[in-house]
């Protein structure tokens, strides 16, 4: 494929990160999910897991398994880096057909939308205009992280972009839908958190004993609908 810009750096011994840039963009995130799929399909000896993020993929490996199976003078990091580079060069540049968006109902009632007024004031618009702008877009799940099942989605309309709270809440209620910068996310569990809460969903995003413990995965598309 056409040359892809990337950087590979160690995350301590036993892990490395492949960084495709420093942006929240679908182009970079496509490379991340593409590489994650390729590595999952061609698991090498010592592969433990990979963790997709916005524009980077982290690979966790067992240093001893790697060194036992690839007997060279190279370090474990160098061995895994070359294995990863082979997969990067094979990446398919053709964008995948977009998935069907998953609908998530959200209530914007005052008791649920703890920071809706604050965010609307900051954007100098009414709360209903904010809700309208928020519902207008389809969001991509760029990654899961922070707490089990928490989706980092984006990008929200620039006009409603709001910075994180200066001091985080001790307990953000389960199901809270928040915004921070150009991102939006949902708290699958009650947890401390600093995002501005504009609504709440009843949808279960984390069911520990289900076959698929999280409702969403990286790469999914989401549309919020008024509950």
């Amino acid at each position: 494929m056409a040359s892809v810009d990337y950087n590979i750096y160690p995350l301590g011994e036993g892990a490395l990160t492949i960084c495709f840039g420093n942006e929240i963009s679908s182009t970079q995130n496509d490379l991340v999910t593409g590489l994650a799929e390729a590595l999952d399909k061609h698991k090498f000896h010592g592969f433990r897991e990979c963790i997709p993020a916005y524009s980077s993929l982290t690979l966790i490996y067992d240093l001893f398994d790697v060194k036992r199976n690839f007997r060279t003078a190279l370090s474990g990091f160098e061995i895994v880096r070359s294995l990863v580079e082979i997969e990067i060069h094979k990446l398919d540049p053709i964008p995948k057909t977009p998935k069907t968006p998953i609908e998530i109902p959200v209530s914007f009632r005052k008791t649920h939308a703890l920071d809706l007024e604050f965010a609307a004031d900051a954007a100098r618009i009414s709360t209903s205009q904010l809700i309208e702008l928020f519902l207008a877009k389809t969001y991509r799940v760029f990654m899961l992280g922070f707490i089990p099942g928490f989706p980092y989605m984006g990008k929200i309309d620039k006009r409603i972009s709001t910075p994180r709270k200066e001091s985080p809440r001790v307990g953000v209620p389960k199901g809270s839908v928040g915004i921070a910068g150009v991102q939006t996310g949902i708290y699958p569990l009650e947890s401390p958190g600093g995002w501005q809460i504009i609504g709440r969903t009843e949808m279960e995003l984390f069911t520990p004993h289900a076959d698929r413990p999280t409702f969403l995965s990286a790469g999914d598309l989401v549309r919020f609908v008024k509950d």
Binding site: P52, A53, T58, L63, F77, L144, F146, P148, Y152, P208
Partner: protein, 321 residues
């Protein structure tokens, strides 16, 4: 039954070597803070190395054994006693039904481990017995222990008495230390440190603050500065990753770290030194020494080789003495 908790400690939770494979779902690996201590006592007991043990902080749990069993302690030294009689770490002991295990004082370290021959009968979740305190699953009902909790044990595969008295040779004991520098490798953002901050980082000591726990250690020391703090977007982090907060202070991510983080990553503690770090607690001082990634890999390999000698020694039961 196996154990009854008479008086819960401040944070007693079951942990194994961590739950890997699910970080892409935001599920953090968790696991024992001092994985080496847990591996060693399991080896002494004839358990698989990754069997779950009870991780205790001080004050630790007071408990009663409700059946005859065989156990070992390792990690921090909390002056353990059985029915008032002192027992030592890194040694296999028998316990009779009704025996009481207590910990009198915190002599050294922060986290002590109790493992039993055969292992505890607790909840597995996604391939691990570790308690995930955030999600409330795994281990014993997904939580830290409370007064009155009763924990069953599994029947050990081998005859119980076979391992009694097995103890770790002195040469194998972990070289924990409260003062030595923790070895680290450079992180992706290390080069962003100013020249002065780079010097401070390697020369200064930093104090672990009171709000340090299984998730991470916050350090207090001379603030470190970065040449630039451009866009910080989240990427995966690791056990031992060291980040710089906006106020210039360091935070070290420990066993219950989140899967991803956005703060600049300046360094990573090498695996062989994580147990030393894990035994530090609030008020302790910590310093850092940079090693190359190649050195870190070599140290890690030597460390695993030592453990495999121990594993063989235990198999032939030659470690006693």
């Amino acid at each position: 039954m196996g154990l009854v908790i008479k008086k819960a400690g401040i944070l007693d939770s079951f942990q194994d070597l961590g739950r890997y494979g699910y970080q892409r779902l935001g599920i953090n690996p968790g696991g024992a803070m001092d994985r080496t201590a847990l591996r060693i006592i399991n080896l002494l007991l004839g358990n698989p190395e990754g069997e779950a043990g009870l991780e205790m902080h001080f004050p630790a749990a007071e408990l009663t054994f409700s059946e005859d069993l065989v156990f070992a302690l390792g990690g921090a030294e909390f002056d353990a006693t059985i029915n008032g009689e002192t027992i030592e770490n890194w040694r296999v002991y028998p316990a009779k039904k009704g025996d009481k295990l207590k910990f009198k004082r915190q002599r050294f370290g922060t986290r002590s481990y109790l493992s039993v021959a055969g292992g505890f009968e607790i909840d597995a979740w996604l391939g691990s017995l570790s308690t995930n305190l955030i999600a409330g699953v795994g281990g014993f009902q997904g939580r830290s222990l409370k007064n009155g909790d009763q924990i069953a044990i599994r029947k050990p595969a081998k005859a119980l008495h076979a391992r009694i008295g097995v103890r770790l040779a002195r040469s194998f004991r972990l070289r924990y230390s409260q003062s030595s520098a923790i070895r680290i490798t450079k992180g992706a953002d290390y080069e962003k440190l100013t020249a002065l901050s780079e010097q401070l980082f390697s020369r200064e000591l930093f104090r672990i603050t009171g709000d340090s726990n299984r998730m991470g250690f916050r350090l207090d020391g001379k603030p470190l500065h970065l040449l630039n703090r451009d866009v910080e977007i989240s990427s995966a982090v690791n056990f031992g990753t060291m980040q710089i907060l906006p106020n210039g202070q360091i935070v070290i991510l420990m066993a219950d770290h989140q899967t991803t983080g956005g703060y600049p990553k300046i360094a990573h503690i090498i695996k062989a030194d994580l147990p030393t770090a894990a035994q530090l607690g609030a008020g302790d001082e910590i310093g850092f020494r940079i090693v190359s990634l190649d050195e870190a890999e070599t140290i890690s390999s030597e460390f695993e080789r030592d453990l495999s000698f121990l594993r063989m020694g235990v198999r032939f039961n030659t470690t006693a003495g």
